[in-house]
Symmetry: C2
Subunit: 562 residues, 2 copies
């Protein structure tokens, strides 16, 4: 049977990572979107809060979009749901916990009740346009995560989402090996598979390895225990609660997202903590230190999180006290290492004992390592492999693993975001490249910052700024007053005070000798002079006000002192 | 015998790391300085090239400074020698290779012949004022590294420098266990020991583990091989050369520092490569790809290094070609992970195969892990332990290791840079805190940038900049022209174009209603308006020019477009 149209698969979004936060499946007049997550900015994205996928292709084809399927409830998969739904309000399909977390997020951003939420349990299937989507349970560091088996007119495509093959997961619900094997028997056209740990040999340890490490912390801690982790790491909450129960400590949840996610997960039955075990923070702070554990946000040292504020002494409700043991149950997000380690150093300085990996195995990855990737390939037996969820280096490594297992290079597509992959009559080919990068979110506004703006910020940040205000006589072209010169972020104020008279002299000379473009000449003169003096190239702004009279007075006011 | 004065030990410099780049030993009228290195800036030090220790205490006491002893030739131990010697020209004591590398660096910065360089071989001792300094060979990732046994009037102090206990080092010269044990028998007052890997359990593998990994790369590579590493990792050069010899590939050194350091190390006999094995780059580029290996700078992805330029296609002499295999034989410097991985991704994009740890063990740490730290403590048997060379978290972990080996907490000093530690009559106490942080080097100028300037850069980088130029009638206070408004690094130019008329209107209204401080009022109005519109707080500069006439014209010129 010949297929009439190509199936198009398009990875979208992600800062350096491919197909992590959003993927589109397009067949004729139908588009199915998988995931809508956010990414954290890299260090060179100055002033950016977070990044969302660039989905202008979806906006242009909004009439085609039939639904949004979410694989699991982590920020990098659900964080941009509100941005997408705000513009294209299609039904959202997800498992109960994922849906609960999305609902909570939408409510917090004032979009309560605006979305159509459709509950699908792992093991069930839904039909969305020409796509039949089967939800397959996978273990990950959050319960109720799924891989997707998407039957399309072009064939069966499997997208793993984030997964690991944990034989002893916290919730006792391992990855559905049988279903994946059944896909393999049915015949899989293409596998889009998580590449996060493609450069890690072996198997990722089970979440269970954390338990002995936590137990040893609880045995040795003489004061309070504070555990910091992602608010969406529901499995980790469960593990801490289990150990706390054994050691007779009560739990307080600290930080808005931690409190809310725990509530959602408990209500839906994904977090099993007896009611009397949980105490409000106010009560916990009054209890003997050895009887409580505080589950806090801030494992990445974010300045506004509980751990971030505790590390610099600006947390309102309580402070670090000697005898506190702090467990950072997470790994730094790539690029955020410096921030995390700085926070750890500060917590030590405040008298706490800080336990983190590799001091003790208090965290384990939620993603498959190389041997698990091989197992996935063996179970699913895809004709084509599309490594996704990783940086280019991970995709290449994943492709190499594929080759070792007999998937030839020509049956593997290593693409970047926005690259359309087409399947026609069982053959894969590359389509066009559409905009598929990311959009910056800065403050409340989305997309008003682009790379050019960031480059301007970078230039300002590199060597600072010099602003010159000139008042010239319209008729004679002569300066009517000393030029006003201010600097910011350029050199030490004392050194600037030394430089300004010399700059002023050079500006005056330049104005006298300039023919035509006064501003250009002044800028050029200052640029050379400052580079010679300081080897720096500040951004230089020259304002020229031309006036007729003999008197003019200029005064500066800046916002920094205010 | 009572000692008349206290021995004072002062760790200096280092961005977050303690006692890494410089340490001062002071007794009465005598100061001995150990090491003078640089640090790389952290991500939040915008526009900074590198950091040197703040040695104003030494400058104030320059008459006391008797000499500078260097433990080994890495940048973080010799990079600031020229800055120190430029101001306090004391004799420099070091082993032959270290001295050779210092000499080369001084020559490159035009200080040829200006320093007094005194050669001391490992195993020898020198007397510098009241200090007798014994040089003890240690293995590290550069040959000819030493620990120091410093006999002072207060007792024997041992400073390890950077070290590991490698039983099979590349140069066949292991750490001098015997000498360290002899110190232990003599009685050691205090040990200042490397804490870099204090959170790594076990032993650091021998440098030998790299050889099989390199051999497998050489066996499999079909085209050129490019190996990137630090130019000061002389041992790594030797290993690459050994494997290249076995596989019949010639070596070309690429990058100024790589070429020069290889020359120095070969001349001094620390790098054993037969002359015919080495070819100039021009020749290497003409040879069949499978017959050459290029040893390049840029293992940290520095934009100006060979690897940095190859990754973006701006290297002049040659480009990446399909079939190239690139080995990154180094670990990212903490905080630089993002930059390194971005470079790797770009090299993949250009068609190279990139091998890096953990893909293959092509790098190993040069620093002791926990079990080696224990061995050091067992050999030296110090009364007091001063963990140095690490962040606060590492020092705490090192202190814990000390406690496990019987050094009580009260005999351990965890201090920060600039904290004076005093020893009198065999007892340790904390002295005063002196300036001991770091000094920024930005462009050619040292120390003209301080934290305030960086905070200004950060503010500019966060949300950019809005500059307003107002021309007012001196008599009436009325605006004589539309206000000129420009933005940089704030919002997308299209959005700025939308915002400017609205800002202009609000400025005009503010000027009309303002009484007194026009500039302050305008600034405040814009601040609130822009925050409401964009949730951002750009830096706002308002210039007011007061003139008498009825005509005025203002034009802006900025330096960004140029």
């Amino acid at each position: 049977m010949k297929q009439s149209k190509p199936l198009r698969i398009i990875p979208l979004g992600g800062a350096g990572e491919i197909g992590k936060n959003m993927t589109a499946y397009e067949y004729g007049e139908n588009i199915l979107v998988v995931d809508a997550g956010i990414m954290f900015p890299t260090n060179d994205m100055l002033g950016i809060d977070y990044i969302i996928p660039d989905f202008q292709y979806l906006l242009k084809n909004r009439h085609k979009v039939r639904g949004l399927v979410i694989t699991h409830g982590h920020e990098d998969h659900i964080g941009a749901v509100r941005h997408l739904i705000d513009q294209i309000n299609v039904p959202i399909y997800a498992t109960p916990l994922t849906l609960g977390l999305i609902e909570g997020k939408l409510a917090r951003s004032g979009m309560d009740g605006k979305a159509q939420l459709i509950k699908v349990h792992a093991g069930e299937a839904v039909t969305i346009g020409p796509f039949r989507v089967e939800f397959v349970h996978v273990s990950h560091s959050i319960p109720d995560a799924v891989a997707l088996g998407i039957t399309t007119p072009a064939g069966l495509v499997v997208q793993t989402g984030d997964y690991k093959f944990d034989h002893t997961p916290v919730d006792g619900w391992p990855t559905d090996f049988g279903k994946l094997a059944e896909f393999g028997r049915r015949g899989v056209l293409a596998l889009l598979a998580d590449s996060t740990n493609a450069d890690k040999p072996g198997w990722t340890p089970s979440e269970q390895v954390i338990k002995p490490a936590l137990e040893s912390v609880f045995r040795e801690a003489e004061g309070r225990i504070l555990v910091a982790t992602f608010a969406s790491l529901i499995s980790r909450m469960q593990q801490v609660a289990d150990v706390a129960l054994e050691h007779g400590r009560k739990i307080a949840f600290v930080g808005t997202s931690m409190v809310e996610n725990a509530k959602i997960a408990r209500n839906l039955g994904y977090l099993d903590i007896p009611e009397p075990m949980i105490v409000p923070l106010e009560d916990a702070l009054k209890m003997p230190p050895e009887e409580v554990v505080l589950l806090c946000t801030g494992s990445q040292g974010e300045p506004s999180s509980i751990m971030g504020r505790l590390s610099v002494g600006t947390n309102r409700a309580f402070d670090i006290q000697p005898g506190d043991t702090i467990v950072l149950s997470s790994h730094p997000i790539p690029g955020n290492e410096e921030n995390v380690y700085r926070t750890i150093n500060r917590l030590f300085r405040r008298g706490a004992t800080v336990i983190y990996d590799p001091i003790a195995p208090v965290h384990v990855s939620g993603h498959a390592s190389q041997e698990e990737m091989k197992l996935m390939l063996q179970l699913v037996k895809p004709k084509y492999l599309v490594p996704v969820h990783g940086e280019l280096r991970h995709l290449h490594q994943h492709a190499k693993i594929g080759r070792e297992l007999g998937i030839p290079a020509e049956n593997t597509a290593i693409v970047e975001n926005g690259q359309v992959i087409e399947f026609v009559d069982g053959e894969m080919r590359l389509g066009e490249r559409i905009p598929g990068g990311w959009v910056f979110v800065d403050g409340s506004s989305v997309g008003t910052v682009n790379m050019d703006v960031l480059r301007e910020r970078e230039a300002l940040a590199r060597d600072g700024l010099v602003v010159v205000n000139l008042v010239l006589d319209t008729n004679t072209g002569k300066m009517l007053d000393e030029p006003e010169i201010i600097t910011r972020g350029f050199v030490h104020p004392d050194d600037a005070a030394d430089l300004i008279p010399a700059m002023s002299k050079r500006v005056a000379r330049a104005v006298r000798s300039a023919e035509g473009d006064v501003r250009g000449v002044v800028k050029q003169v200052l640029k050379s002079y400052l580079f010679n003096e300081t080897r720096r190239r500040p951004q230089i702004f020259v304002a020229v006000t031309e006036v007729k009279p003999q008197t003019a007075k200029t005064q500066w006011q800046d916002s920094i002192a205010a």
